[in-house]
């Protein structure tokens, strides 16, 4: 297994820590006074999503993690697993509930998601920043009110609930920012 020395540390580097794959968020080289140097590292545990800190002695080494990010198309869910497909190789990947926990409100068939694979298994599914989704349920629209003031909840086809302007009606397709779970605009018609 390949390993990395602290002098190779940089943001985005994937390594193993206590048996879990992790990704470096921030690495700071510290040399106090005339003493021994160390690296102050902030990293994300890719399995739990948790952010941790760890101090490493300079020249200490860590094991690399076989983690890659690829773009996959969401196919369907069987209730237990969420199935994705590589649109070029047609290879199938099954993500468990943990991997889709943060993206389940935004999963729509045929949309492309960034999937983080660890040893070939999906660890994390990240939605695109913006998705277009249809409204399946909301209070009747208030005709003529295009001010955008006020607002009401609307349920989208994936089950997500976002706050929308009063004029939005059932069946309309909305552009939504998945990072803040917020309405952006009516989707432009093709």
């Amino acid at each position: 297994m390949a390993s990395y020395s602290t002098n190779e540390f940089k943001a985005g580097l994937k390594f193993m820590m206590d048996g879990d794959p992790c990704s470096i968020i921030e690495n700071e080289f510290v040399k106090p006074g005339k003493g021994q140097a160390f690296n102050r590292v902030k990293f994300r545990n890719l399995k739990t999503g948790r952010v941790n800190e760890r101090t490493f002695k300079t020249n200490e080494s860590v094991e690399s993690a076989d983690v890659v990010e690829i773009d996959l198309e969401f196919s369907y869910s069987d209730g237990e697993f969420w199935h994705f497909m590589d649109p070029s190789s047609f290879e199938q990947y099954a993500a468990d509930a943990n991997a889709i926990a943060d993206s389940k409100d935004w999963l729509k068939e045929q949309y492309v998601y960034t999937v983080t694979l660890w040893n070939g298994t999906p660890l994390l599914v990240t939605p695109p920043n913006f998705v277009n989704l249809a409204v399946v349920e909301t209070d009747p629209g208030v005709r003529g009110d295009t001010s955008g003031g006020g607002g009401k909840p609307a349920t989208l086809e994936t089950g997500a609930v976002v706050r929308v302007p009063l004029f939005i009606e059932i069946g309309e397709v909305l552009r939504v920012d998945t990072r803040s779970a917020s309405y952006v605009e009516r989707a432009k018609k093709d």
Binding site: N7, F29, V30, G33, G35, A37, R54
Partner: protein
């Protein structure tokens, strides 16, 4: 790489700052000098790694080191009666690369025969005020900093307590971390105390370091009856900017410190460094009592130009060299 406009801007600001530094010393009759970058000797400090290279000349071939600071050569000039001198030098330190570290950087170093450490601290403060417009510095003895920010008296605390406090207070430090007493003190200083000094928004000069951290400074008894190193460090903007000594002038004691350092290097499996015999000989012939300080010019520029990465003030940075 910086955009052309950013680069031109940095070059101009660097040049202006260097001109202001030179004016500061010119007015005070301190002589600018240059000393060799290559030396057949190198510092022995256990955590300071020199770059090495080789002079190729048949039977005269020899291994050489790039200086990590112009200190040894400047002390030879002082011993030869140069009087007050300063130098702006590029210095080299192997393995040091980070937000505040580059393997080569600009050092401003100066020596003042006849100055006490306090005299020199006053001059450093004047330089910081005049050249980059900082407010006046506050002075803290090392012990007082630990009392103020960690409610800890370092002269009462044993190593076990220091380790326990470090593990309690520093996120990311694991119980298997091993170091010596000075290692724990430095860890607490850099991880807990320094960030709080940054919040003070004025420069801080730390004095009366533990005698075990004397480096090349004299050791003396302070008012509380503790042996302390007669040195100071200047912190500003969350960075260590300068390190000054009331210089040790005793060649015999200096040789002992070099040899102790080399023993530590041996224990850590690091190469022992050739001791600078030219320096020791010059000191024996008479290094005048003097105080001296080394100041990181790139960090000074980071502070002045409000940049948070040393590569942003160097023009062409190490990773592009």
């Amino acid at each position: 790489m910086l955009h052309n406009e950013q680069l031109q801007n940095i070059l101009k600001r660097r040049a202006k700052l260097l001109a202001n530094v030179r004016r500061f010393f010119s007015v005070r009759n301190v002589l600018e000098v240059n000393t060799p970058i290559l030396s057949s000797a190198a510092p022995t400090a256990p955590y300071l790694d020199s770059f090495s290279t080789r002079f190729e000349a048949g039977s005269d071939s020899k291994d050489l080191y790039l200086h990590t600071s112009p200190e040894f050569a400047m002390k030879r000039l002082l011993s030869a009666g140069s009087g007050a001198i300063y130098q702006i030098a590029t210095v080299f330190r192997n393995g040091e690369l980070g937000r505040q570290h580059a393997p080569e950087f600009s050092m401003l170093e100066w020596y003042r025969p006849g100055f006490s450490l306090t005299d020199l601290m006053t001059e450093v403060d004047a330089l910081m005020q005049q050249v980059i417009g900082l407010p006046a510095a506050v002075i803290f003895p090392y012990r007082d900093l630990f009392v103020k920010y960690l409610q800890l008296d370092i002269y009462q605390a044993d190593d076990v307590l220091l380790k326990q406090i470090a593990l309690d207070r520093i996120a990311g430090l694991t119980a298997d971390w091993q170091t010596d007493r000075d290692g724990w003190l430095e860890m607490l200083m850099s991880e807990i105390i320094e960030p709080q000094l940054k919040a003070l928004e004025m420069p801080v000069m730390v004095t009366e370091f533990p005698a075990s951290q004397a480096q090349l400074a004299k050791i003396e008894m302070n008012a509380d009856g503790h042996h302390v190193a007669s040195r100071f460090e200047l912190y500003a903007g969350g960075m260590e900017l300068a390190n000054g000594y009331d210089e040790l002038c005793d060649a015999t004691e200096l040789r002992q410190r070099f040899e102790q350092d080399n023993q530590l290097r041996l224990q850590q499996g690091k190469p022992q460094m050739p001791i600078d015999e030219n320096l020791l000989t010059a000191m024996q012939s008479g290094l005048p009592q003097c105080s001296g300080v080394a100041l990181g010019l790139d960090r000074l520029m980071m502070l002045y130009f409000a940049e948070n990465n040393i590569s942003q003030v160097q023009g062409i940075a190490f990773i592009e060299s």
